[in-house]
């Protein structure tokens, strides 16, 4: 679904919640006249279950879309091994192969990206522009942060991840 220039992708979890409650409401309204009398506010509430995640996703994705050009201009391409805790807050660009993908269905994907020099976690707090899978070669733009905000090893807070076609040497 596209709103303006932003491709909105609500998570599968949000859609599943909407579907489950729709089915429950259907069953309840068939069986109970009391529920049927409340449909005037139950149906808008049901749609809010879909509208709110869509709105949140739109807001986060439009914000990320605004940030991407800024990172594109400022980020330096570094090897994974050179990323360390002294670089917290720096915008970086890395290129590597996706080794693992977690939490994609929650719209909070975490990738494990490896290049020749090492491996690093890449966390994204919204859905990516394109679906990224294991073994894809990607370019990641983001900021170096600590894994648990104030503690933990350095990871990348991803602003943009996109597949690239680049032959290794």
């Amino acid at each position: 679904m596209k709103i303006g220039k932003v491709e909105v992708k609500p998570s599968i979890l949000s859609i599943a919640v909407f579907v489950i409650f729709t089915v429950l409401l259907l069953v309840a309204s068939i069986n109970s006249p009391e529920v049927r009398s409340q449909l005037i506010w139950l149906i808008p509430c049901l749609f809010m279950l879909l509208v709110i995640p869509v709105a949140l996703n739109y807001m986060s994705r439009s914000q990320y879309a605004d940030l991407a050009p800024q990172y594109e201009a400022e980020a330096k391409t570094v090897r994974v091994r050179l990323i360390n805790e002294n670089m917290i807050g720096k915008p970086v660009r890395i290129e590597g192969v996706v080794e693992r993908v977690h939490f994609q269905i929650l719209n909070r994907p975490q990738y494990l990206v490896a290049d020749r020099s090492g491996v690093i976690s890449v966390k994204m707090f919204t859905s990516p522009d394109e679906d990224v899978h294991v073994n894809d070669v990607v370019e990641v733009l983001g900021q170096v942060i600590r894994r648990y905000i104030v503690v933990g090893d350095p990871v990348i807070n991803c602003v943009s991840i996109r597949k690239i076609k680049k032959s290794g040497n």
């Binding site: 330096k76 391409t77 570094v78 090897r79 091994r81 050179l82 360390n84 805790e85 002294n86 670089m87 720096k90 970086v92 660009r93 020749r116 020099s117 090492g118 894994r147 648990y148 503690v151 933990g152 090893d153 040497n169």
Partner: protein, 283 residues
């Protein structure tokens, strides 16, 4: 001779290590100790409520959480055990606190402690008065370089520290500038050729990183005769990518070691970059 900072740091580190060992022992001792006391006083005629002995599990959880906190990689499960101990044993709830619950909790804490030690690395000193020491293998390498760096101008060593720190922070332009200036100064005084090469390598690669450029066809490297003083052995000549990366690792580690050996005022700052140096060593 060992520098003052090392002499004063080592006893602190030993004291701290024994404290960690005591805390690690405290986890099973406190939790199982509480269980044993609960067993001893669990009779109907006992004057004590066995919930008092669950305090051992609570204290064991706090010790485990502290051990998790001082590790470089944080174990969220171990960190939250005090919360669970309070929920299980302190907050009034529907289920009764009994010996079985305490025993299972003590076993869980012990398993978590083993997991913490196996999977989450060694506990590190949490900034005790800012005193820390170099870790191996960096320490041994710095000692090796110390012999060669005798009589080195402290200003050059300070420049080495600045270059390392700037590079670690990702300030590649600044790192290249300082490295270039230091290299020129050293060359004028016909200084240590190995150090000149190290500055040169860092300068060159920092500029490439600043401009996000890939590896060039030809790049500055250490010569085979330098191998004895380098932290990492040079890959085969046909493995250009590896040689390029190892050249930078060796150059940065050499700058770190030179700065550590000949610029005592920078040692504190260098310790802040120790994790990066160790990463370069390990990779």
């Amino acid at each position: 001779m060992m520098p003052m900072s090392d002499e004063t740091n080592l006893p602190t580190l030993k004291r701290f290590s024994s404290r960690i060992l005591l805390l690690e022992l405290a986890v099973p001792v406190l939790s199982f100790g509480g269980v044993i006391l609960a067993l001893l006083f669990s009779g109907p005629e006992s004057a004590f409520d066995i919930r008092y002995f669950a305090l051992g599990c609570v204290m064991g959880s706090v010790a485990l959480a502290y051990l998790a906190w001082i590790r470089p990689r944080k174990d969220i499960v171990a960190l939250t055990t005090p919360v669970y101990s309070v929920l299980f044993f302190v907050v009034p709830s529907d289920f009764a606190v009994n010996v079985i619950l305490e025993l299972l909790y003590a076993v869980s804490l012990t398993i978590l402690l083993i997991r913490l030690k196996v999977r989450f690395g060694t506990a590190t000193e949490p900034g005790m008065g800012g005193k820390r020491s170099l870790e191996e293998p960096l320490k041994t390498y710095c000692e090796t370089i110390r012999g060669q760096a005798n009589g080195l101008n402290p200003e050059v060593a300070h420049s080495a520290a600045v270059v390392f720190a700037r590079f670690a922070r990702g300030d590649y332009q600044e790192a290249a500038q300082v490295a270039g200036a230091a290299e020129t100064d050293l060359a004028k005084t016909q200084g240590w050729p190995l150090l000149i090469t190290a500055f040169d390598i860092v300068r060159e690669q920092a500029l490439f990183l600043e401009e996000s450029k890939d590896r060039p066809e030809q790049f500055i490297e250490f010569s085979a005769s330098d191998t004895g003083l380098l932290a990492k052995s040079l890959p085969r000549s046909d493995r250009l990518n590896e040689r390029y990366e190892v050249s930078l690792d060796n150059a940065l580690l050499l700058l770190f070691a030179v700065a550590w050996a000949a610029s005592e005022k920078d040692q504190r700052a260098l310790l802040g970059g120790q994790s990066f140096a160790l990463k370069l060593f390990a990779s």
